[in-house]
């Protein structure tokens, strides 16, 4: 029997008022603006966009502010918002070869065409706290140098020229890319659907899995063929016009992970690949995604499935932090009736146990105290 219990309206309203107060904090300090969050906490904004699976810097920054900087809460808020919007269509696939490069590095070729471009990286910083950021000291304009603005060759194309690397992933003819926002997941998944899930997956979870493959749990001998960050154009077909038009640029991070050889009776030995593509500037996530993508292709290459990172159902079912937090955090919601039932049960079991073992109840209570 269900018993409806009501109550707590006033407590909830006051709790939300208190949340708003604590979020605003000390009123003698200026409130942080959305523009400031976009401009100065850009990588937090990028993470929220990537894992909410919604590219919109302003809304992501609003979510960060509303969530008081709690990233998963911000991701949750932005995910919830996206469900209120109609979908206009699918873009033409973005062309990362035509990316306007902001950073591009390769760990496999020193002198690759276009060169190693470090861009705005934390690499090679000493990770020492910078006291100059305690105050608002002026920041110098970046140095400039003549640039080659032509499209930059992908590292995978260099190896492809020699036939030493597997091609870009092909799906069967007439395959329509799967969309996990429209259909429930059914395992096993195709690689396209896995990539969609990984692209929105929790960075921490994917990082840990990627790390586990390096430590020996599904070793894939990876090299970063290339990481590139920059802007790509999003184009949408306009049916009324019969051609695609540009909607503007988005920033993405792409990682081509090159992994050890595979050969079979059909294919000569060649490098295999894992692929990562993420909204915004998020190199760690793109690298982790590419490692996990490769690990999840174990079945395709006839590798033994021995480690968590190779287990598709395990990885994909637990990579979404909104789902994960929903289920973990629901435990704090009232379970009074459930718990009463369990309490009754354990009392009965305890009574039977005590009766059977003949322990004096008062004695047991004394021992417990």
């Amino acid at each position: 029997m269900y018993v409806a219990v009501k109550g707590g309206e006033a407590a909830i309203a006051n709790a939300h008022q208190l949340l708003a107060d604590r979020r605003r904090g000390d009123r003698s300090l200026p409130a942080i603006s959305i523009d400031q969050i976009v401009a100065q906490l850009g990588l937090a904004v990028d993470r929220v966009m990537a894992e909410a699976s919604l590219y919109d810097r302003e809304l992501a920054a609003l979510a960060v502010r509303q969530a008081r900087g709690d990233m998963i809460e911000a991701i949750f808020i932005l995910r919830a918002y996206r469900t209120t919007l109609p979908r206009f269509g699918m873009s033409v696939p973005v062309d990362t070869a035509a990316m306007k490069i902001e950073r591009r590095i390769s760990a496999t070729y020193k002198d690759l065409p276009g060169g190693q471009l470090l861009g705005p990286t934390f690499d090679y910083t000493h990770r020492l706290l910078d006291p100059s950021l305690l105050s608002d000291e002026p920041v110098a304009e970046p140095t400039r140098r003549a640039a080659d603005e032509s499209a930059m060759m992908r590292v995978s194309d260099i190896l492809a020229g020699e036939g030493l690397i597997e091609g870009d992933g092909q799906m069967p003819e007439d395959h329509v890319p799967g969309d996990l926002t429209r259909e429930p997941l059914e395992f096993p998944l195709n690689r396209d659907l896995r990539l969609q899930a990984l692209a929105r997956g929790d960075e921490g979870f994917l990082l840990a899995l990627a790390y586990s493959t390096q430590r020996g749990y599904a070793r894939t001998h990876p090299f970063v063929g290339e990481v590139r960050i920059g802007e790509v154009d999003v184009e949408l077909d306009i049916p009324e016009l019969g051609f695609a038009v540009s909607l503007g640029p988005i920033q993405v991070t792409e990682c081509q992970m090159v992994n050890q050889f595979q050969g079979s009776t059909k294919n000569p030995p060649q490098f295999t690949r894992g692929y990562g593509l993420v909204f915004g500037q998020s190199e760690r996530k793109a690298m982790a995604m590419s490692l996990v993508d490769r690990a999840l292709r174990a079945g395709e290459f006839g590798e033994d499935i021995v480690a968590p990172a190779q287990d598709e159902e395990f990885v994909i079912s637990h990579s979404d932090n909104v789902q994960a937090t929903g289920f973990v955090e629901h435990l704090k919601l009232p379970h009074y009736v459930d718990f009463q039932a369990e309490l009754d049960l354990v009392r009965r079991m305890r009574a039977e146990y005590d009766a059977k073992s003949g322990i004096d109840k008062d004695g047991a209570r004394e021992a417990a105290e």
Partner: protein, 155 residues
Amino acid sequence: MDAIKQNTGMAMNGRKRAMGLLARASTAELQAGWQSIEPKPEVHPVRGPETGLVMVRGRIGGGGDAFNLGEATVSRATVRLGSGEIGHGQLLGNDREKAHLAAVFDALHQRPEHRSVVDQLIGAVERRIHAEDRKHAEQTAATRVDFFTMVRGDN
């Protein structure tokens, strides 16, 4: 390619280019363009302005088959001028007013008497974007690694 096909192709490319640049125009640029038009044309809304989502697709491995990367907010509008031309505006983000203005300029671009005003606007947008892109490319180029080899003394 025969001449007619080529002309159609050029007109299509011209409109595609113009619409792409209108999508990247700032609110200030669009409003300044609108101010410069006198007398104001009659504009009827056909659809929107409205905000929705476009599923952004990537390619497996960078160049393989498509997969769904994630969605982006997009605002769009369709308008009809009193003279009958239909204009479409569509751009990333939540700014419905911008989408409306972009649609108006797309429609005006099809009218010979307004073409030069719209061309000026999109020309200015294009120059601004080129300047910004160049600046970013040059700043990135300054972070290019120049490797050098240490010459060893032992022959």
